[in-house]
């Protein structure tokens, strides 16, 4: 773990200030605040994983929670991911709402049997008598110059598994609300936190999920839309579809494209299962062009699923095939090469250019 990350996490205590209205906070603070409230609101919630207790997690997402809520509700486990997830199944069967943490994306692999064969299927296997209200927090994606297995994008793998739901916030506000929403659901949710965005601050309105009126779907009367995608930037010429850390990069790209007179819409998918097909249809139905951006490798990535959903709803009006700008079909590279791997501004701009210049044969 790079020293700067752990140092940065030790700072702010603004998560304790419970006031209404919009506050500036980092995603780490927003997640920490959400977990604190979840523990306070639901006595059946338990948080556990490697170093989640006294240390507060390697990213400090659970910072201070053990001291506040006790060692029974926030605890360290032995260092074994299958054990953490297998234990979650039994706790859920006993009526608890586990929020386990896998320390890094790549370490979800040792727990794959428990996630795929057990957590995802227990509701089905038991004919609905043993629901699995488990929110699995997974610090995800790359961009922090970390060692091997610390920069993986597992969303397509999880989204492929019947019985799982998958969500990834791109900003502190959504991180707060989506985590609180996920932790109150009766089904298992894989909560993918973009670790490269943990320390960027942004506005969080704890009392109103639909910040800035940007939500276009769902029932906003109960505190905002938390089940679908979010239009992060309105535009007319082309839709960039992204999630997690790629959303802020796409917003940067949109600003640059605007200088050339290209009006880009950015759709933050948020939910990777279920994918908000209506939001895709609405956005691309308007712009008639789309580029999907993700960090995960290209082949069988979620970009293919998104492209198919867009084709299904917008085929007749599309000006060009849906383009994908993604990571490559290579193992996630070492830090020195990760800027070559993760879609960068130039590659996304090239993708936009290919779509705009497309001419029917």
């Amino acid at each position: 773990m790079p020293k700067t990350i752990t140092d940065a996490s030790m700072t702010d205590d603004s998560t304790d200030t419970a006031t209404a209205g919009v506050q500036q906070m980092s995603m780490q603070q927003a997640l920490n605040r959400a977990l604190n409230e979840i523990l306070a609101e639901n006595p059946k919630t338990v948080i556990f994983g490697e170093d989640c207790g006294r240390l507060g997690g390697v990213f400090r997402i659970t910072d201070g929670l053990q001291a506040k809520h006790g060692e029974e509700r926030v605890f360290d486990t032995p260092l074994a991911e299958s054990g953490i997830l297998g234990m979650s199944v039994g706790l859920a069967m006993a009526g608890f709402h586990p929020i386990p943490e896998v320390q890094f994306d790549g370490f979800a692999y040792p727990a794959i049997n428990q996630i795929v064969c057990q957590i995802a299927r227990m509701n089905y296997r038991s004919r609905g008598t043993l629901p699995m209200p488990i929110t699995l927090r997974v610090p995800s994606f790359g961009g922090i110059r970390a060692p091997e297995h610390h920069g993986e994008s597992l969303e397509a793998l999880f989204a492929h598994v019947p019985g799982l739901k998958v969500v990834s916030p791109s900003n502190p506000h959504d991180a707060y609300h989506l985590l609180k929403y996920a932790a109150t659901r009766p089904d298992p949710v894989i909560f993918m936190e973009p670790k490269s965005r943990y320390w960027q601050k942004g506005p969080v309105d704890v009392s109103n999920a639909a910040l800035g009126g940007a939500a276009h779907d769902g029932d906003t009367s109960t505190g905002g839309s938390l089940t679908g995608a979010r239009v992060a930037r309105e535009g007319r010429h082309l839709t960039l579809v992204a999630w997690g850390a790629m959303v802020s990069r796409c917003l940067q790209v949109a600003e640059l494209a605007a200088e050339d007179g290209i009006d880009v819409e950015v759709l933050d998918l948020r939910w990777l299962k279920p994918i908000d097909a209506e939001a895709l249809a609405r956005s691309v139905g308007k712009t008639r062009r789309a580029v999907v951006v993700h960090e995960a490798p290209l082949t069988s990535g979620l970009g293919a699923e998104v492209a198919q959903l867009i084709t299904q709803s917008c085929f007749a009006s599309l000006k060009a095939p849906v383009e994908r700008v993604t990571g490559f079909d290579v193992p996630y590279p070492s830090g020195d090469l990760e800027d070559e791997y993760i879609p960068n501004i130039d590659r996304i701009l090239f993708g936009i250019q290919r779509v705009l210049e497309y001419r029917r044969g």
Binding site: T77, S82, M93
Partner: protein, 350 residues
């Protein structure tokens, strides 16, 4: 220097089994034996597509299942615990329905039965037992009142990493779990000596600081008493216990297996030892606990029960296809709902 943990001296005022209880144990074993051998016949007759017999393991299963307190304990089975299910009083049509290919986990209610859904991943549910047991600790029951989890697995499953993780977690957390291993000599075609380094799963418990008991798994009373002691140890807050019941899988791994390819009938005869059911019968006769009339009546009841279960199984139709979709989530996704709609419309057309 390794220290060998021992069962805590629990204040277990357990009386010896009464004659009535001994007869009940025999009746359960007889019912299980008859249902088990009948289920193999059902498969040969085409009533069910497959079955995993537990022939020879009746004492291990009935003896341990008989010790469960169904008001507060919870059992985590594999796919070969029919005898435990019967001893715990499960709805046996609901249990056997998994072998009819009606529903993977079985049609019984696991919460009401205190018996988790049938588990097909070898060692898959051992960690679930640890989580459930730790939940009992978190629930803060009074000392001596806590529920205990009992997880079943075999010598083959003991090779799985999840078993190590489960024993280590349970010991660290002092979780009230009984790890009940039926060492039946075979993991499909691979004998214990090629499976279990050191020759004993129970011996491994010492490494975790967990007390262990290796019992004659073909002696139903010994199994019951060991399990009862283990439950008392867990219930008093002393942490987990490992029991290794040494028994023998007298039948094939499943109705699709062919043991002739890996062991001879002569080896089976020598290795299996005395039949646990016959052995218990001779003991009850010798001790004057039961007479021939009792055994005849037990057999008659077993046959009556098998007929009722067979009729129930034969009557089980396929589940409505809509359940494929409706039971995946508590809150179904729009995509799944539209797949269900498309399936319904297209299957109605066909």
């Amino acid at each position: 220097m390794t220290t060998h943990p021992v069962l805590a001296a629990v204040d277990d005022d357990a009386a010896p089994l009464t004659h009535r209880q001994l007869r009940e144990l025999y009746a359960l074993m007889a019912a299980v034996r008859h249902l088990d051998t009948s289920a193999v016949a059902w498969q040969r007759q085409g009533i069910i597509p497959g079955y995993a017999p537990e022939l020879g393991q009746e004492a291990a299963q009935v003896g341990s299942g008989y010790a469960v307190d169904r008001t507060r304990d919870f059992v985590f089975p594999t796919y070969r615990e029919m005898g435990v299910a019967r001893a715990m009083g499960l709805d046996m049509v609901g249990y056997m329905s998994t072998h009819k290919a009606t529903w993977h986990g079985g049609m019984y209610n696991p919460l009401e039965s205190r018996f988790a859904p049938i588990q097909a991943v070898v060692a898959g549910s051992v960690l679930h037992a640890v989580g459930w047991a730790h939940g009992q600790t978190l629930a803060g029951h009074a000392k001596g009142e806590t529920g205990v989890a009992m997880t079943y697995f075999g010598d083959g499953a003991s090779s799985q990493g999840d078993v190590h993780e489960a024993m280590n977690f349970a010991a660290v957390m002092k979780a009230p779990v009984v790890f009940f291993i039926q060492n039946n000599g075979w993991a499909i075609s691979v004998p214990t000596e090629r499976q279990v380094a050191g020759g004993s799963v129970a011996a491994r418990a010492a490494g975790y600081g967990i007390p262990s008991l290796q019992v004659d798994g073909n002696d139903v009373v010994a199994v019951y008493e060991a399990t009862r002691s283990a439950f008392a140890h867990c219930r008093a807050g002393n942490g987990p216990v490992v029991i290794e019941a040494m028994t023998y899988r007298r039948g094939p791994h499943s109705t699709a297996d062919d043991p002739g390819r890996y062991r001879t009938l002569e080896e089976e005869r020598l290795d299996a030892g005395e039949d646990p059911l016959e052995r218990f019968k001779q003991r009850l006769l010798a001790e004057g606990v039961a007479d021939e009339a009792f055994f005849a009546e037990a057999q008659r009841l077993a046959e009556e029960e098998e007929e009722a279960v067979r009729a129930g199984i034969a009557d089980l139709g396929p589940r409505p296809g809509a359940e494929m979709f409706s039971l995946v989530f508590q809150e179904p996704t729009p995509a799944l709902q539209s797949q269900a709609t498309a399936w319904r419309e297209e299957s109605e057309h066909a």
